[in-house]
């Protein structure tokens, strides 16, 4: 039965022109400069320094710390957004989490406000407070330092060293776990008070067990109540402040707006949501609350078109709501979600510059019964996404080609063509298969939502630490080529001392050598992640977030202790396509054609293909060796083998929460940064050239669109439970209607052949080159990076080049268009 009551699913009649509030808020969102907000750092530091009781359980200590901050968090109203609550005290704020990397700001306190690239404003008073009061307290207490303390003088110390060199893997837990999709249904139905009552009853029951386990559970239930109480108090402060502001407002309309907001905050999130507006604001205040405890990285609101639908439907049927108002409220939510950024020290600009905080929203797809879940709100949220065209939230569209209508697929396609970038498309069949392959029930798998970039989670049931490890696959390849050493780390023996490839007799032998290095590196990365997980368990449990999950309140166990229904860890991989192509080149030219001897190839790779002979070899390897992204059988085999091997390897490891490791293929901006510091590789890539992004083939290696999509799609499903980012660039066409049709058909075919995800940039080489040259002409140009959106102007030069040189396909003939920079990108 269709849930669509809209006459026009594209909602063309609603524009920014007739939604002046959204237009103004959007303008502000582009005009605002990010400011660092020290409020959280100040209060958690004061709490720990002056009030903390170390004899309490880690969960209770965390809850009290969070509650202390939420009680003191300033209720501020920066603009005419209809929703109360803000992530920080600043209009566009970067909150500080001294538990993680905030101390990297210490040497930059004087420069962060004025640096050339993406400055973040910090007042002199606040800089002084950080310098004298806050940072000194944390010197030896952040996750990284506690990990160091824990493993120094043990065998695990090498894993930390590998991480800190930044060229092997990133142990992301030093910066966050976050990355989760909470479920807000129970909060909306019962209110936080209802959840607190539930925890209170269970606390009493746990005490009656009169055991250590019972005491631990009771402590956890107590921590849940304390932390949720913090959110309720924050909401009360918002209500009080709104009343005050109403009292001093001259404009009667503004006065009424504040009174309305006060009323909303008096009801939610403490009590059940009784209207659509209350539900939207309750979710927003809880998001703010979650960020008092967890750093703002990929904390994803999930399937809002499903969660909010009952409230929308009831209000619409009662005549309390109209489409325009619903659009306005959703628009206000989108803009609120974008009210924060992460603090980025200058050094990290190289790796992550331009990223938002990637809170993902997931639309459409099927419901728990496997039926079409698309409803009016799906289209309202698509329209808002189309109208606002802002970096965050990261909007994703699920598509089941059997259950969702082709109208829906076309409408999503149209929004992508109009915004030139969003939303990203997710295939229900392949992704549900990926999750059931992880032992999730079919109903739970069908309720998946996207976390952050592309990762998958059953909403509120999966605590997947999906960004635990980011591993550079080119590192083990180089170690396989050079007997466990890497050009960048010189003569140091890093990995196992494997045989010189020149002594090998077959490609199979080299594949074994590569796996030896790969497996060794992954063991190291997992080892460090386990240690950091243990540090998190002591220092950063999440009793507040636990309240929004299925599992913790039943088991009496925090998420970080394994309280969730599903407890995996995620590892993503950088340079996948480059490594597949290198293996192809070695297998074909050295072992099959015997065109080059391995020693000869190694020598040229080491010399970065210098000289005329080197260049000739490089061009041959680049142009004639088999490529991932074509249907060459050898390339297909090597791609499948890596994906299969990584899957088996990770799945053989159980993490500190009792779940399995899940491989994924998304790269944020790491493929550019890591490419820059990696030597030449056997597929004809010169030293320092950027890697391909996500699971995308190397630029220029996949000339035919259908072959490219087929080659990627066949890797999909069970072996990629963490999902992937496939970046496709299309040149825009003048006949948007015709292009939309082909676009949607192409998506369907790619999904039917197994592709899990795809995201687009609808732009030409020429336009992107021009945007690099004249940033002032493109102040709002939004691009897809690898799983998230960024404003082109904010990206570092490397990433701009990566975006520019990505293969562009012409959807009028399915062919790649050659990149000719000497013509200014013109063809």
């Amino acid at each position: 039965m269709t849930k669509i009551t809209l006459d026009d699913i594209s909602l063309k009649d609603f524009t920014l022109g007739n939604l002046p509030r959204l237009q103004e808020l959007r303008r502000l969102s582009f005009a605002r400069k990010p400011e660092i907000c020290i409020e959280r750092a100040r209060y958690v530091t004061r709490y720990l320094r002056d009030k903390d009781d170390p004899t309490d359980s880690p969960e209770v200590r965390q809850a009290r710390k969070v509650n202390y901050f939420l009680q003191r968090k300033r209720p501020v109203f920066h603009d005419h957004n209809l929703l109360a609550g803000s992530t920080t005290s600043k209009a566009l704020g970067a909150p500080l989490f001294p538990e993680f990397f905030a101390l990297t700001l210490w040497p930059e306190l004087d420069t962060v406000s004025t640096r050339a690239k993406n400055p973040q404003k910090l007042t002199p008073d606040e800089a002084r407070e950080l310098n004298l009061e806050i940072f000194p307290y944390w010197m030896d207490k952040n996750v990284l330092e506690l990990t160091r303390k824990r493993i120094s003088n043990t065998e695990s110390a090498q894993s930390l060293k590998l991480f800190e060199s930044l060229v092997f893997f990133i142990a992301a837990k030093a910066g966050c776990i976050s990355h989760a999709v909470p479920a807000y249904e129970a909060m909306l139905e019962l209110g936080l008070s209802g959840l607190i009552d539930m925890a209170s009853v269970r606390e009493a029951a746990a005490f009656l067990l009169a055991s250590d386990e019972g005491d631990r559970q009771a402590d956890f239930y107590r921590a849940v109540q304390i932390s949720l109480q913090g959110i309720i108090q924050y909401a009360e402060h918002l209500a009080d402040e709104a009343v005050t502001l109403a009292g001093v407002a001259d404009d009667p309309e503004v006065r009424q707006e504040f009174l309305d907001m006060a009323k909303v905050c008096q009801q939610v999130p403490a009590g059940p949501a009784t209207t659509f507006r209350e539900a939207v604001n309750a979710i927003w205040i809880c998001q703010v609350g979650i960020h008092a405890e967890n750093i703002n990285m990929a904390m994803s609101p999930g399937r809002l078109d499903q969660i909010l639908y009952p409230y929308y439907k009831r209000d619409m049927e009662a005549g309390r709501l109209d489409i325009g108002r619903a659009i306005e409220l959703i628009g206000c939510l989108w803009l609120k979600i974008a009210d924060n950024v992460t603090m980025v020290p200058e050094a990290s600009e190289e790796m992550f510059g331009g990223a938002g905080t990637v809170p993902a929203i997931t639309l459409g797809g099927v419901d728990a019964d496997g039926e079409d879940a698309v409803n009016d709100l799906t289209y309202i949220m698509l329209r808002v996404t189309e109208l606002l065209c802002i970096r965050d939230p990261n909007v994703n569209a699920r598509y089941d080609y059997e259950k969702n209508s082709s109208d829906y697929c076309r409408r999503v396609s149209e929004v992508i063509l109009n915004t030139k970038a969003v939303p990203a498309f997710f295939n229900d069949h392949a992704n549900i298969t990926a999750l059931t392959g992880q032992g999730e029930s079919i109903e739970h798998a069908r309720d998946y939502a996207v976390i952050g970039c592309v990762e998958l989670a059953s909403s509120g049931r999966d605590y997947p630490a999906s960004s635990s490890i980011m591993l550079n696959l080119a590192a083990p390849l180089e170690m396989a080529l050079f007997c466990g050493k890497r050009p960048i780390t010189g003569e140091e023996q890093i990995g196992p001392s494997t045989p010189d490839p020149a002594t090998l007799n077959s490609f199979e032998e080299f594949w074994e050598v590569f796996k030896t290095q790969l497996d060794w590196l992954i063991e190291k990365a997992i080892e460090l992640n386990e240690h950091m997980g243990a540090v998190h368990q002591q220092m950063m449990p999440s009793p507040l977030l636990s309240a929004f999950f299925e599992g913790p309140l039943d088991k009496g166990k925090d998420l970080v202790q394994g309280g969730s229904l599903y407890n995996s860890s995620g590892a993503t991989h950088i340079a996948f396509a480059d490594v597949v192509d290198s293996l192809n080149a070695i297998e074909q030219t050295v072992f099959i054609d015997k065109k080059y001897r391995f020693a000869e190839l190694l020598q040229m790779v080491k010399a970065d293909f210098a000289g005329a002979e080197g260049e000739k070899m490089r061009l041959y390897l680049k142009n004639r060796a088999p490529k991932y992204g074509t249907e060459h059988p050898l390339a297909r085999k090597n791609a499948r083998n890596i994906v299969g091997h990584l899957f088996n390897l990770y799945q053989s490891h159980t993490n500190y929460r009792g779940g399995l490791y899940r491989p994924a293929y998304w790269t944020m901006t790491n493929h550019a940064g890591l490419g820059k510091i990696t030597g030449a590789l056997p597929h004809g890539r010169k030293s320092g050239e950027l890697f391909a992004s996500g699971i995308t083939p190397v630029s220029g290696a996949a000339p035919e669109l259908t072959a490219c999509l087929n080659a990627v799609a066949e890797l999909g499903g069970e072996c990629v439970p963490g999902c992937w980012a496939l970046n496709i660039k299309y040149s825009p066409e003048t006949d948007v209607e015709k292009m939309t049709e082909r676009f949607a058909q192409t998506i369907e075919a790619y999904f039917r052949s197994g592709g899990q995800q795809v995201q687009f940039n609808i732009m030409t080489y020429e336009m992107l080159l021009d945007a690099k040259k004249h940033p002032e002409k493109y102040p709002e140009l939004m691009v897809r990076v690898s799983g998230y959106s960024a404003y082109f102007k904010d990206l570092n030069e490397l990433m701009k080049d990566e975006l520019i040189t990505r293969t562009m396909y012409d959807l009028a003939n399915g062919k790649s268009v050659a990149y000719l920079p000497e013509n200014g990108g013109k063809q």
Binding site: L619, T706, N710, Q745, T746, E748, A749
Partner: protein, 298 residues
């Protein structure tokens, strides 16, 4: 005929029939139309195409050529009179400056390639189109291929100049064809012969029979070539002819100088054709002659 000579396999073709298709460009054509879009597909033997902009002058090709047909100064040059089209040089070229146009496929190999995009056909109502060159110049192979594709449930189309043996075509191709895109160029047979090298009697007779047999599945296609087909007299006569034949659907193909650059590489410069594509106004003018028909997008 066990194997066919194919010049190119064009995937994601969206102008050769409905939906997203794969077009098989057979090599070899009995006609010699000066405006040919695919002049590299006219000769019925493999040829080496040379992309001078990719050549780095490394000389690998010269060392391998058994006919000594390659000279390399700053860049390579093919002596066409010596070249046998063996393709050895192509394999050695590090930059793909040399490409072999024309490879032999058997039905199974070609079918397996064509089936790779089956899901794209399915999602778009597309299929496979045989084109060229002239596919019916390798009629027996086309018949087998079409039969094989039909067994797989793939929608099939052919783009033909109409110069084929009707009885054979009817027996081995037509039963497995869903759509026939039939070129009609010049009404006057003498002029047809003068320009394309062959008179139009067989072509028109075949069109007539085809329309009798499968009136709904034929689209007549008229290339609008300034100086050759696009003149008042020819277009008037063609329109009358199509009406007399009871053609229902037709497509007008506005001139595009697409083939010019390609032709230059093998046959030298043709100054009789314009450098610019036909504009919409001219196309509109010619469209008015075809009001009796369903004009469909090419």
């Amino acid at each position: 005929m066990k194997k066919a000579l194919v010049g190119e396999i064009g995937r994601y073709a969206v102008h050769d029939g409905p939906g997203i298709r794969t077009t098989v460009f057979f090599k070899g054509c009995p006609l010699r139309c000066p405006w040919c879009h695919n002049p590299e597909l006219i000769a019925d033997r493999p040829e080496i195409a040379f992309f001078s902009d990719r050549c780095i002058g490394c000389g690998e090709c010269r060392e391998l050529c058994p006919e000594a047909a390659l000279e390399v100064d700053k860049i390579a040059r093919i002596n066409r009179s010596r070249c046998s089209g063996c393709g050895l040089c192509v394999e050695s070229c590090p930059t793909r400056a040399l490409e072999l146009v024309g490879r032999r496929y058997d039905v199974e190999e070609l079918t397996s390639i064509l089936l790779r995009d089956r899901l794209f056909y399915q999602a778009s109502g597309g299929g496979v189109t045989l084109s060229g060159g002239e596919p019916t110049a390798q009629l027996a192979f086309c018949g087998k291929l079409l039969q094989r594709l039909h067994r797989e449930g793939i929608h099939t189309a052919i783009e033909t100049n109409g110069f084929f043996d009707w009885d054979k075509f009817e027996a081995i191709c037509l039963p497995y064809l869903d759509l026939i895109l039939f070129d009609v160029k010049i009404a006057d047979s003498g002029r047809h012969r003068e320009i394309t090298g062959i008179g139009n009697e067989v072509i028109l007779a075949n069109l007539q029979r085809l329309l009798d047999a499968r009136p709904d599945d034929v689209i007549a296609r008229i290339p609008l070539i300034p100086g050759y087909t696009a003149d008042q007299e020819n277009i008037t006569r063609l329109a009358a002819l199509l009406k007399e034949f009871k053609v229902r659907r037709c497509s007008l193909l506005p001139y595009h100088p697409y083939g010019l650059a390609k032709a230059e590489k093998t046959r030298g410069k043709d100054n009789t054709l314009p450098q610019k594509p036909m504009n919409n106004r001219a196309l509109h003018k010619w469209k008015r002659f075809f009001t009796d028909f369903d004009i469909v997008d090419p």
